[in-house]
Amino acid sequence: MDTRDKESLVNTRRGLLKCMAWAGTGIVWSVVGGVPKGVPISMGLGGTALAATSAFTFVQISDSHIGFKADANPDPNATLQAALDKAVALKPAMMIHTGDVTHLSKPEQFDTADQIIKGAKLDTHFVPGEHDVIGDDGKMYFERFGGKGAAAGGWYSFDQGGVHFVALMNVIGFGPATGATLGKDQLEWLEKDLKGKSASTPIVVLAHIPLWSIYPQWGWVTADADQAFAHLKRFGSVTVLNGHIHQVVQKVEGKVTFQTAMSTAFPQPAAGTAPSPGPMKVPADKLKSVLGIREIAFAPAAAPKLTDQILG
Protein backbone atom coordinates (compact mmCIF):
# COMPACT_ATOMS: atom_id res chain seq x y z
CA MET A 1 0.00 0.00 0.00
CA ASP A 2 1.56 3.33 -0.97
CA THR A 3 1.19 6.61 0.85
CA ARG A 4 -1.57 7.81 -1.43
CA ASP A 5 -3.62 4.73 -0.79
CA LYS A 6 -3.19 5.25 2.93
CA GLU A 7 -4.40 8.84 2.68
CA SER A 8 -7.52 7.89 0.79
CA LEU A 9 -8.23 4.97 3.08
CA VAL A 10 -8.16 6.93 6.29
CA ASN A 11 -10.71 9.39 4.96
CA THR A 12 -13.45 6.90 5.56
CA ARG A 13 -14.23 4.83 8.60
CA ARG A 14 -14.43 1.71 6.49
CA GLY A 15 -11.15 2.62 4.90
CA LEU A 16 -9.62 3.16 8.30
CA LEU A 17 -10.75 -0.20 9.61
CA LYS A 18 -9.61 -1.89 6.43
CA CYS A 19 -6.26 -0.25 6.76
CA MET A 20 -5.98 -1.27 10.39
CA ALA A 21 -6.88 -4.84 9.62
CA TRP A 22 -4.73 -5.31 6.59
CA ALA A 23 -1.92 -2.80 6.79
CA GLY A 24 -1.79 -2.97 10.56
CA THR A 25 -2.27 0.73 11.03
CA GLY A 26 -2.22 1.79 14.63
CA ILE A 27 -5.07 3.34 16.50
CA VAL A 28 -4.76 5.56 19.51
CA TRP A 29 -7.61 4.95 21.90
CA SER A 30 -8.72 7.83 23.93
CA VAL A 31 -11.39 7.14 26.44
CA VAL A 32 -13.11 10.39 27.11
CA GLY A 33 -16.04 9.55 29.30
CA GLY A 34 -18.01 7.29 26.99
CA VAL A 35 -17.60 5.89 23.53
CA PRO A 36 -14.01 5.35 22.40
CA LYS A 37 -12.90 6.75 19.11
CA GLY A 38 -10.17 5.30 16.97
CA VAL A 39 -7.64 7.73 15.55
CA PRO A 40 -4.64 6.61 13.50
CA ILE A 41 -1.81 8.65 14.95
CA SER A 42 0.75 7.29 12.57
CA MET A 43 -0.93 9.19 9.76
CA GLY A 44 -0.43 12.78 10.71
CA LEU A 45 -2.57 13.09 13.82
CA GLY A 46 0.06 13.46 16.46
CA GLY A 47 -0.28 11.46 19.64
CA THR A 48 1.11 14.30 21.71
CA ALA A 49 -1.70 16.66 20.70
CA LEU A 50 -4.20 14.08 21.83
CA ALA A 51 -2.48 13.52 25.13
CA ALA A 52 -2.33 17.22 25.85
CA THR A 53 -6.12 17.55 25.92
CA SER A 54 -6.71 14.37 27.88
CA ALA A 55 -6.74 13.94 31.61
CA PHE A 56 -5.44 10.40 31.68
CA THR A 57 -3.59 8.48 29.02
CA PHE A 58 -2.25 4.96 28.98
CA VAL A 59 -0.77 2.60 26.43
CA GLN A 60 -1.64 -0.97 25.51
CA ILE A 61 0.91 -3.39 24.12
CA SER A 62 0.19 -7.03 23.42
CA ASP A 63 1.48 -10.38 22.23
CA SER A 64 5.21 -9.77 22.46
CA HIS A 65 5.93 -13.54 22.12
CA ILE A 66 9.48 -13.32 23.42
CA GLY A 67 11.23 -16.52 22.34
CA PHE A 68 9.50 -16.71 18.96
CA LYS A 69 12.08 -17.36 16.26
CA ALA A 70 10.31 -18.43 13.07
CA ASP A 71 10.39 -16.54 9.78
CA ALA A 72 7.45 -14.29 10.62
CA ASN A 73 9.77 -12.38 12.98
CA PRO A 74 13.28 -13.61 13.80
CA ASP A 75 13.79 -10.82 16.37
CA PRO A 76 10.75 -10.19 18.58
CA ASN A 77 13.02 -8.58 21.20
CA ALA A 78 13.81 -5.76 18.78
CA THR A 79 10.19 -5.19 17.80
CA LEU A 80 9.12 -5.18 21.46
CA GLN A 81 11.80 -2.56 22.07
CA ALA A 82 10.52 -0.53 19.12
CA ALA A 83 7.00 -0.72 20.58
CA LEU A 84 8.23 0.43 23.97
CA ASP A 85 10.13 3.33 22.40
CA LYS A 86 6.85 4.45 20.78
CA ALA A 87 5.01 3.99 24.06
CA VAL A 88 7.52 6.00 26.11
CA ALA A 89 7.35 8.84 23.58
CA LEU A 90 3.63 9.19 24.29
CA LYS A 91 4.39 9.85 27.99
CA PRO A 92 1.53 7.68 29.24
CA ALA A 93 0.53 7.45 32.91
CA MET A 94 1.00 3.69 32.71
CA MET A 95 1.02 0.72 30.36
CA ILE A 96 -0.94 -2.50 30.04
CA HIS A 97 0.24 -5.70 28.39
CA THR A 98 -2.61 -7.92 27.26
CA GLY A 99 -0.76 -11.21 27.28
CA ASP A 100 1.44 -13.65 25.42
CA VAL A 101 4.42 -11.90 26.95
CA THR A 102 6.43 -15.01 26.03
CA HIS A 103 6.11 -17.61 23.32
CA LEU A 104 6.71 -20.83 25.29
CA SER A 105 6.56 -19.89 29.01
CA LYS A 106 10.27 -20.59 29.44
CA PRO A 107 12.15 -18.97 32.33
CA GLU A 108 14.69 -17.30 30.04
CA GLN A 109 11.86 -15.90 27.92
CA PHE A 110 10.17 -14.42 30.99
CA ASP A 111 13.49 -12.97 32.12
CA THR A 112 14.23 -11.39 28.74
CA ALA A 113 10.72 -9.94 28.48
CA ASP A 114 10.94 -8.62 32.03
CA GLN A 115 14.26 -6.90 31.35
CA ILE A 116 13.12 -5.30 28.09
CA ILE A 117 9.81 -4.10 29.52
CA LYS A 118 11.38 -2.80 32.75
CA GLY A 119 13.75 -0.77 30.57
CA ALA A 120 10.80 1.39 29.52
CA LYS A 121 10.36 2.46 33.18
CA LEU A 122 6.58 2.49 32.84
CA ASP A 123 4.22 1.28 35.54
CA THR A 124 2.90 -1.84 33.76
CA HIS A 125 -0.11 -4.06 34.43
CA PHE A 126 -0.29 -7.47 32.79
CA VAL A 127 -2.82 -10.13 31.96
CA PRO A 128 -1.48 -13.51 30.83
CA GLY A 129 -1.93 -15.12 27.45
CA GLU A 130 -2.17 -18.85 26.85
CA HIS A 131 1.49 -18.82 25.83
CA ASP A 132 2.43 -17.60 29.32
CA VAL A 133 0.86 -20.44 31.29
CA ILE A 134 2.09 -23.55 29.44
CA GLY A 135 2.97 -26.48 31.66
CA ASP A 136 2.79 -24.77 35.05
CA ASP A 137 -0.62 -23.05 35.00
CA GLY A 138 1.12 -19.71 35.06
CA LYS A 139 3.34 -20.13 38.12
CA MET A 140 6.40 -18.52 36.53
CA TYR A 141 4.28 -15.84 34.89
CA PHE A 142 2.55 -14.84 38.12
CA GLU A 143 5.85 -14.69 40.01
CA ARG A 144 7.03 -11.97 37.66
CA PHE A 145 3.95 -10.25 36.30
CA GLY A 146 1.07 -11.12 38.63
CA GLY A 147 -1.19 -8.22 39.55
CA LYS A 148 -1.00 -6.54 42.92
CA GLY A 149 -3.62 -8.03 45.23
CA ALA A 150 -4.61 -10.60 42.62
CA ALA A 151 -7.02 -13.39 43.55
CA ALA A 152 -5.73 -16.95 43.61
CA GLY A 153 -6.91 -17.37 40.03
CA GLY A 154 -4.83 -14.41 38.85
CA TRP A 155 -7.55 -11.81 38.23
CA TYR A 156 -7.42 -8.37 39.86
CA SER A 157 -8.65 -4.81 39.61
CA PHE A 158 -7.25 -1.35 40.24
CA ASP A 159 -8.24 2.29 39.93
CA GLN A 160 -6.28 4.91 38.10
CA GLY A 161 -7.12 8.24 36.49
CA GLY A 162 -10.75 7.93 37.54
CA VAL A 163 -11.05 4.68 35.61
CA HIS A 164 -11.73 1.28 37.17
CA PHE A 165 -9.62 -1.41 35.54
CA VAL A 166 -10.62 -5.05 35.69
CA ALA A 167 -7.88 -7.48 34.64
CA LEU A 168 -9.45 -10.81 33.77
CA MET A 169 -7.91 -14.18 33.21
CA ASN A 170 -9.24 -16.43 30.43
CA VAL A 171 -6.32 -18.57 29.34
CA ILE A 172 -6.23 -21.51 31.73
CA GLY A 173 -8.49 -24.43 31.01
CA PHE A 174 -8.34 -27.98 32.24
CA GLY A 175 -10.16 -29.62 29.36
CA PRO A 176 -11.07 -29.19 25.72
CA ALA A 177 -13.33 -26.26 24.95
CA THR A 178 -14.41 -24.00 22.15
CA GLY A 179 -12.59 -20.87 23.11
CA ALA A 180 -11.79 -19.40 26.47
CA THR A 181 -13.67 -19.36 29.75
CA LEU A 182 -13.69 -17.04 32.74
CA GLY A 183 -15.21 -19.55 35.14
CA LYS A 184 -17.63 -19.34 38.03
CA ASP A 185 -15.13 -18.11 40.65
CA GLN A 186 -13.95 -15.23 38.53
CA LEU A 187 -17.48 -14.21 37.54
CA GLU A 188 -18.49 -14.14 41.21
CA TRP A 189 -15.45 -12.06 42.00
CA LEU A 190 -16.30 -9.65 39.19
CA GLU A 191 -19.83 -9.16 40.48
CA LYS A 192 -18.48 -8.31 43.95
CA ASP A 193 -15.70 -6.12 42.55
CA LEU A 194 -18.13 -3.96 40.61
CA LYS A 195 -20.79 -3.79 43.31
CA GLY A 196 -19.85 -0.51 45.00
CA LYS A 197 -18.94 1.31 41.79
CA SER A 198 -21.02 4.17 40.49
CA ALA A 199 -22.53 3.59 37.04
CA SER A 200 -20.72 6.69 35.82
CA THR A 201 -17.29 5.18 36.56
CA PRO A 202 -15.56 4.39 33.27
CA ILE A 203 -14.63 0.73 33.20
CA VAL A 204 -11.75 -0.79 31.24
CA VAL A 205 -11.76 -4.57 31.01
CA LEU A 206 -8.50 -6.32 30.13
CA ALA A 207 -8.28 -9.92 28.98
CA HIS A 208 -6.06 -11.76 26.54
CA ILE A 209 -8.57 -13.75 24.48
CA PRO A 210 -11.37 -11.64 22.97
CA LEU A 211 -14.41 -11.34 25.21
CA TRP A 212 -16.74 -11.46 22.25
CA SER A 213 -17.19 -14.02 19.53
CA ILE A 214 -14.88 -13.14 16.66
CA TYR A 215 -14.24 -16.59 15.20
CA PRO A 216 -15.00 -19.58 17.44
CA GLN A 217 -13.53 -22.00 14.87
CA TRP A 218 -10.13 -20.59 15.78
CA GLY A 219 -10.92 -20.24 19.46
CA TRP A 220 -11.38 -16.47 19.16
CA VAL A 221 -14.20 -16.36 21.69
CA THR A 222 -14.83 -16.47 25.45
CA ALA A 223 -17.71 -18.83 26.04
CA ASP A 224 -19.04 -17.36 29.28
CA ALA A 225 -18.27 -13.68 28.63
CA ASP A 226 -22.00 -12.88 28.49
CA GLN A 227 -22.16 -13.50 32.23
CA ALA A 228 -19.45 -10.92 32.78
CA PHE A 229 -21.32 -8.35 30.68
CA ALA A 230 -24.45 -8.94 32.74
CA HIS A 231 -22.50 -7.35 35.62
CA LEU A 232 -21.11 -4.59 33.40
CA LYS A 233 -24.27 -3.47 31.59
CA ARG A 234 -25.26 -0.78 34.10
CA PHE A 235 -22.06 1.20 33.47
CA GLY A 236 -22.07 4.13 31.08
CA SER A 237 -18.68 3.44 29.56
CA VAL A 238 -17.09 0.03 29.21
CA THR A 239 -13.97 -0.43 27.10
CA VAL A 240 -12.76 -3.98 26.52
CA LEU A 241 -9.13 -4.33 25.46
CA ASN A 242 -8.03 -7.75 24.23
CA GLY A 243 -5.02 -9.26 22.47
CA HIS A 244 -4.56 -12.78 21.11
CA ILE A 245 -5.46 -12.28 17.44
CA HIS A 246 -2.56 -9.96 16.48
CA GLN A 247 -4.73 -7.48 14.57
CA VAL A 248 -7.24 -4.77 15.29
CA VAL A 249 -10.87 -5.85 15.26
CA GLN A 250 -13.48 -3.57 16.78
CA LYS A 251 -17.08 -3.89 17.81
CA VAL A 252 -19.37 -1.43 19.55
CA GLU A 253 -22.40 -2.83 21.33
CA GLY A 254 -24.42 -0.27 23.24
CA LYS A 255 -22.13 1.31 25.78
CA VAL A 256 -19.48 -1.38 25.40
CA THR A 257 -16.60 -1.00 22.97
CA PHE A 258 -14.51 -4.05 22.22
CA GLN A 259 -11.15 -3.79 20.52
CA THR A 260 -8.36 -6.26 19.94
CA ALA A 261 -4.78 -5.08 19.51
CA MET A 262 -1.88 -5.56 17.16
CA SER A 263 1.01 -7.68 18.33
CA THR A 264 4.53 -6.37 18.84
CA ALA A 265 5.88 -9.61 17.30
CA PHE A 266 4.03 -10.91 14.24
CA PRO A 267 0.64 -10.59 12.51
CA GLN A 268 -1.99 -13.30 12.20
CA PRO A 269 -4.43 -13.77 9.32
CA ALA A 270 -7.90 -12.25 9.41
CA ALA A 271 -10.56 -14.69 10.64
CA GLY A 272 -11.09 -17.56 8.24
CA THR A 273 -8.70 -16.29 5.55
CA ALA A 274 -6.08 -19.00 6.10
CA PRO A 275 -6.08 -22.70 7.00
CA SER A 276 -5.11 -21.80 10.57
CA PRO A 277 -4.44 -18.74 12.75
CA GLY A 278 -0.68 -19.38 12.75
CA PRO A 279 1.91 -16.61 12.31
CA MET A 280 1.54 -14.70 9.03
CA LYS A 281 4.68 -13.92 7.08
CA VAL A 282 5.02 -10.52 5.48
CA PRO A 283 8.09 -9.12 3.69
CA ALA A 284 10.70 -8.08 6.27
CA ASP A 285 10.48 -4.41 5.30
CA LYS A 286 6.71 -4.47 5.90
CA LEU A 287 6.81 -6.17 9.29
CA LYS A 288 6.69 -3.01 11.39
CA SER A 289 3.65 -1.81 9.46
CA VAL A 290 1.64 -4.74 10.82
CA LEU A 291 2.84 -4.43 14.42
CA GLY A 292 1.78 -1.70 16.76
CA ILE A 293 0.77 -0.23 20.08
CA ARG A 294 -2.35 1.56 21.29
CA GLU A 295 -2.82 4.73 23.25
CA ILE A 296 -5.98 5.16 25.30
CA ALA A 297 -6.85 8.65 26.50
CA PHE A 298 -9.58 9.47 28.99
CA ALA A 299 -10.89 12.97 29.64
CA PRO A 300 -13.70 13.84 32.02
CA ALA A 301 -17.25 13.71 30.61
CA ALA A 302 -16.28 12.90 27.06
CA ALA A 303 -15.82 9.80 24.94
CA PRO A 304 -12.58 7.84 25.33
CA LYS A 305 -10.23 8.03 22.39
CA LEU A 306 -8.31 4.99 21.31
CA THR A 307 -5.50 5.32 18.82
CA ASP A 308 -3.36 2.55 17.39
CA GLN A 309 0.07 3.32 16.06
CA ILE A 310 2.20 1.09 13.83
CA LEU A 311 5.85 0.55 14.65
CA GLY A 312 7.19 1.76 11.32
Partner: protein, 112 residues
Protein backbone atom coordinates in the same frame (compact mmCIF):
# COMPACT_ATOMS: atom_id res chain seq x y z
CA UNK B 1 -6.05 -43.22 36.04
CA UNK B 2 -3.19 -42.58 38.43
CA UNK B 3 -2.22 -46.24 38.35
CA UNK B 4 -1.93 -45.99 34.58
CA UNK B 5 0.16 -42.90 34.86
CA UNK B 6 2.66 -44.55 37.21
CA UNK B 7 3.09 -47.54 34.97
CA UNK B 8 3.12 -45.67 31.71
CA UNK B 9 5.34 -42.71 32.35
CA UNK B 10 8.66 -44.59 32.54
CA UNK B 11 7.69 -46.32 29.31
CA UNK B 12 6.95 -42.98 27.69
CA UNK B 13 10.32 -41.69 28.79
CA UNK B 14 12.00 -44.77 27.38
CA UNK B 15 10.08 -44.28 24.14
CA UNK B 16 11.37 -40.74 23.86
CA UNK B 17 14.95 -41.95 24.32
CA UNK B 18 14.45 -44.46 21.54
CA UNK B 19 13.28 -41.68 19.28
CA UNK B 20 16.60 -39.99 19.73
CA UNK B 21 18.51 -42.92 18.24
CA UNK B 22 16.28 -43.13 15.21
CA UNK B 23 14.34 -46.21 16.18
CA UNK B 24 11.23 -44.50 14.95
CA UNK B 25 9.84 -44.12 11.42
CA UNK B 26 8.46 -41.00 9.75
CA UNK B 27 5.17 -39.15 9.80
CA UNK B 28 3.40 -41.84 7.81
CA UNK B 29 3.80 -44.41 10.57
CA UNK B 30 0.45 -45.72 11.81
CA UNK B 31 1.29 -44.74 15.37
CA UNK B 32 2.17 -41.13 14.62
CA UNK B 33 -0.16 -38.17 14.97
CA UNK B 34 0.82 -35.11 12.97
CA UNK B 35 -0.08 -31.67 14.30
CA UNK B 36 -0.57 -29.26 11.41
CA UNK B 37 -2.77 -26.24 10.83
CA UNK B 38 -4.01 -26.41 14.42
CA UNK B 39 -5.34 -29.95 14.04
CA UNK B 40 -4.38 -33.48 15.14
CA UNK B 41 -4.31 -36.01 12.30
CA UNK B 42 -5.33 -38.76 12.11
CA UNK B 43 -8.01 -38.68 14.75
CA UNK B 44 -9.27 -40.95 16.05
CA UNK B 45 -6.20 -43.15 15.85
CA UNK B 46 -6.71 -46.80 16.77
CA UNK B 47 -3.73 -48.74 18.14
CA UNK B 48 -3.06 -52.00 19.97
CA UNK B 49 -2.29 -52.01 23.72
CA UNK B 50 1.40 -51.35 24.34
CA UNK B 51 1.75 -49.04 21.33
CA UNK B 52 3.92 -46.01 21.65
CA UNK B 53 2.14 -43.10 19.94
CA UNK B 54 4.21 -40.13 18.83
CA UNK B 55 2.92 -36.64 18.11
CA UNK B 56 4.93 -34.41 15.78
CA UNK B 57 4.26 -30.67 15.63
CA UNK B 58 4.63 -29.30 12.09
CA UNK B 59 3.12 -25.88 12.89
CA UNK B 60 5.08 -22.70 13.55
CA UNK B 61 2.80 -22.29 16.53
CA UNK B 62 3.52 -24.30 19.69
CA UNK B 63 1.02 -26.92 20.79
CA UNK B 64 0.66 -29.37 23.62
CA UNK B 65 -0.74 -32.88 23.84
CA UNK B 66 -2.74 -33.02 27.06
CA UNK B 67 -5.13 -35.76 28.13
CA UNK B 68 -8.65 -34.45 28.53
CA UNK B 69 -8.64 -35.37 32.23
CA UNK B 70 -6.64 -32.23 32.84
CA UNK B 71 -3.35 -33.83 31.88
CA UNK B 72 -3.43 -36.53 34.56
CA UNK B 73 -2.88 -39.41 32.13
CA UNK B 74 -0.41 -37.70 29.80
CA UNK B 75 0.82 -34.20 29.32
CA UNK B 76 3.49 -32.95 26.95
CA UNK B 77 5.52 -29.81 27.46
CA UNK B 78 5.11 -27.03 24.88
CA UNK B 79 6.03 -28.54 21.53
CA UNK B 80 7.70 -26.01 19.28
CA UNK B 81 8.07 -26.56 15.53
CA UNK B 82 9.25 -30.13 14.80
CA UNK B 83 9.22 -31.11 18.47
CA UNK B 84 7.85 -34.58 19.23
CA UNK B 85 6.14 -36.16 22.21
CA UNK B 86 5.46 -39.87 22.80
CA UNK B 87 3.27 -41.80 25.16
CA UNK B 88 2.77 -45.55 25.42
CA UNK B 89 -0.82 -46.72 25.77
CA UNK B 90 -0.77 -49.98 27.75
CA UNK B 91 -4.41 -50.27 28.62
CA UNK B 92 -7.42 -50.60 26.34
CA UNK B 93 -9.72 -47.63 26.31
CA UNK B 94 -10.66 -44.39 24.59
CA UNK B 95 -8.29 -41.54 25.39
CA UNK B 96 -9.42 -38.05 24.51
CA UNK B 97 -6.82 -35.31 24.47
CA UNK B 98 -6.49 -31.64 23.55
CA UNK B 99 -3.99 -28.84 23.13
CA UNK B 100 -3.95 -26.87 26.37
CA UNK B 101 -2.86 -23.76 24.46
CA UNK B 102 -5.60 -24.00 21.82
CA UNK B 103 -8.38 -25.82 23.60
CA UNK B 104 -10.50 -26.19 20.47
CA UNK B 105 -7.88 -28.65 19.17
CA UNK B 106 -9.01 -32.13 20.19
CA UNK B 107 -8.08 -35.69 19.30
CA UNK B 108 -8.78 -39.27 20.33
CA UNK B 109 -6.63 -42.37 20.68
CA UNK B 110 -8.55 -45.67 20.77
CA UNK B 111 -6.60 -48.54 22.31
CA UNK B 112 -8.03 -52.01 21.62
Amino acid sequence: MHAIKRRALPLAAAAMLLLGIGAYAGAAAPDTVTIANFAFSPTPLTVAPGTKVTWNNKDEEPHTVTSADGGHTFKSPALDTDDKFSFTFNKAGTYKYFCSIHRQMVGTIIVK
